[in-house]
Symmetry: C2
Subunit: 448 residues, 2 copies
């Protein structure tokens, strides 16, 4: 592969510039900002590879950009990525412009660089390198790049059902990943599912003088009491039936966690966190991160949030809650149980809107693609990667891969300080360039 | 009093213009905006009466503007007012400019017009009318106008202790009041006390990816659980000892509530509220409003509060809580019990800052000033006022009056639709002009 790697080394600056241009285009699906423009850029990048590009559209959904480049042999590898990003807020916590794509101290800073634009461009550049140097690909390559991953991929299931040929492959390289605290690449074999609830409670027609609190119901208290009924201080989720369908991790999966080198303590330190919930440490914390579902408060808002004191009784209160699901929890079932629980607890004054739903998924650790990727990493980086039975995060691995029986492996160019979803999201420029080589090598080795 | 009332009728437009100029000067104590400028305006208004004016200053406190005009006889009447206002937020809920002082359909709209700039100007104009028409006052008049009432009058107690002569009087006319749903004036004989807590919980050093929620403690959950431990769904405040020092209302006070004509149901409707807490109605709701302390959430904030979904684990969470106190609860004691309770419940990770403290106070319903004001109201408006043993709101009646043994009666120019502390705060222009006459009559009748 020296020829291909040399090509990547020679064209590195050009690859970085192309990534920067892509990063400077905001594509915030939650706020509907720049999504169509980013889709256009993806379409152009795929076209420049000479791929057969199809842009699928559905009403109310961001476009799905799919591409296919025929290669040698019968095997097909699917790259799943997304071109949308999380909102950059809170803006005042960024030291670099969220859409400036500035390079500082060897790091490239931008919203979405680690999740997931950097990986998408690295994969495109890997295909380009193989095509430019060899004139052909060792396997057929497919790309699907969606624009709604960060809001739970609401349109993706429909795209997958209507255009299964765009998704069909022998294996799938999942969107993202990165290095752990010791620089070791982490491969992930699954995704958690998700249920995302936006909750509102309404009270008076405007914020009232708080002297009325003796008699007027306070929507913020209603919300607080309702949320309190969802999870207790022991971190037990109290929604009846929430844990019913959880499949215990298989021996292969549990062993993977046992063999993981990660130090959750170092992770905590890098996040500025002093301790884990329930006093957990070491492998116990890792197991919980992999195999336990969550019920998390993403946001709260009510009444006066400014400086100093203002004595009001809020006219409304809002909470955003996400629940990460593990196999075989189903998002529709969990959403129903959530609403049933609120109703049964007397909180029928809460208005719940579901903003996202994802099935959990896991790949069999013994699938061929897992070995191929692991071997490629060892060959390139001379360091054993760690194999995670699942990401703690969510992605539409069920719609893209699991529902078609396609095994999927997550790998990417991020690292433990990449601040995914946070301010100053970043990657090392060198990891981006190595990532291009790694993807080219995976394609070569996947051919067999 | 026809001569004085005629003067008011002739000079009405001029009085309104002077009030509008005062309203156009923001004076938001919670945000430190315009307070010094407003104090200057008050000083000028007092000086124009020919009063002996003193501006007391203390470090970190807004100036207290005091004035005295000697009158006939030995009696002295003190007017207590404040020149600061609540923050106008949320701005998008106003249909009129908060500091525009626009007149629309006979109503004058501005932050602070009902609470309390309209009353302060009405009283100044009453004194002016008596002086202009009669050349002298029937009693000595004192004014104290403070600039921090809306943030709990933190500097007032010190001013009162250092300058007791500015406060000493035979009776006090309290800052504010208004008409009930049937246009009947309400006189109030007391104020609730207050404890205002700003609470913060910190977590990671930035908003984290919510996939970490399985192991990283969420400050929003910590806050929710802590707040939940303060009050239950039966509206019972759970802070140990919170109710210990409550003095049962005297027979005179309880009877006042029984004789009140107010319809809490109509009040609820005007506020856009469907029901009261605990299903209370009629006199039971009124009694609770008068005699029960509160624990109210004024504001909540954490994580992502924008549109759509963002999956974060907030780095911090904030709540603002006010507790309205009744005699003989003491704010310092309640604050201590609040903190002790949080600590004892394991919430020592919450940082509590106290932004306000007030003692509760009540005037004896049999005090002479109560009869004088009631009689003046009947004489002017030909309608019996209603007598409330206390306002449900808070004011520094303890520091200004009760601690010196001065009986105080609240009366003012607002009405049930004045939206005190809310958007589109307003008064009827006619009530402002009648209020000038009423205050002149009270001064005349107080002379004996």
């Amino acid at each position: 592969m020296k020829d291909v790697f040399d090509y990547v080394d020679q064209h590195g600056p050009e690859c970085v510039r192309e990534l920067q241009a892509f990063l400077r285009q905001p594509s915030i699906s939650a706020q509907g900002k720049g999504v169509a423009e980013a889709a256009k850029m993806v379409e152009r990048m795929f076209s420049s590879l000479g791929a057969k590009v199809e842009v699928f559209r559905a009403e109310g959904a961001a476009p799905l950009v799919a591409a296919e480049i025929r290669g040698d042999g019968e095997r097909a590898l699917l790259f799943y990525n997304h071109y949308d990003v999380q909102p950059p807020e809170p803006l005042d916590r960024w030291e670099h412009e969220p859409f400036g794509a500035e390079i500082d101290g060897g790091r490239l800073y931008a919203r979405g660089v680690a999740d997931n634009k950097g990986d998408l461009v690295a994969r495109i550049k890997a295909v380009e390198a193989l095509l430019e140097v060899r004139g052909r690909l060792p396997v057929t390559v497919k790309f699907v790049a969606e624009g709604e991953e960060e809001i739970g991929s609401p349109g993706l299931d429909r795209y997958a059902k209507e255009h299964p040929e765009a998704f069909s492959a022998d294996a799938c390289i999942w969107e993202t990943g990165g290095r752990d605290e010791e620089g070791r690449l982490e491969l992930t074999l699954g995704c958690k599912g998700l249920c995302y609830a936006h909750i509102e409670v309404e009270g008076g027609s405007y914020d009232l003088h708080s002297s009325l609190a003796a008699v007027v119901p306070n929507p913020a208290w209603r919300l607080l009491w309702a949320l309190n009924s969802l999870k207790n201080e022991k971190e037990e989720i109290l929604i009846p039936g929430f844990y019913d369908d959880i499949r215990q991790p298989g021996p292969g999966e549990a062993e993977l966690v046992e063999s993981l080198p990660s130090s959750p303590e170092r992770l905590a330190k890098s996040l500025g966190v002093e301790r884990f919930v329930l006093g957990l440490a070491g492998k116990d914390a890792l197991k919980r991160l992999c195999f336990e579902p969550t019920c998390n408060v993403c946001g709260l808002s009510a009444g006066y949030e400014g400086p100093g004191s203002k004595t009001v009784l809020p006219s409304k209160a809002m909470a955003k809650i996400d629940m990460r699901l593990v196999p075989d929890q189903r998002p529709d079932d969990i959403a129903r149980k959530f609403e049933d629980h609120l109703r049964a607890s007397g909180f029928d004054d809460l208005r719940v809107t579901w903003l996202g739903a994802e099935h959990p998924a896991r790949t069999d650790p013994n699938a061929r693609i897992v070995r191929v990727v692991r071997d490629a990493v060892v060959e390139l980086y001379r360091k054993e990667p760690s194999l995670h039975p699942t990401s703690a995060g969510t992605g539409p691995m069920y719609q893209v891969a699991a529902q078609f029986g396609t095994p999927a492996v997550g790998i990417g160019i991020g690292n433990v300080a990449s601040r995914v979803h946070g301010p100053d999201e970043n990657v090392n420029v060198s990891d981006f360039l190595e990532g291009i080589k790694c993807m080219a090598l995976v394609l070569e080795r996947f051919a067999g």
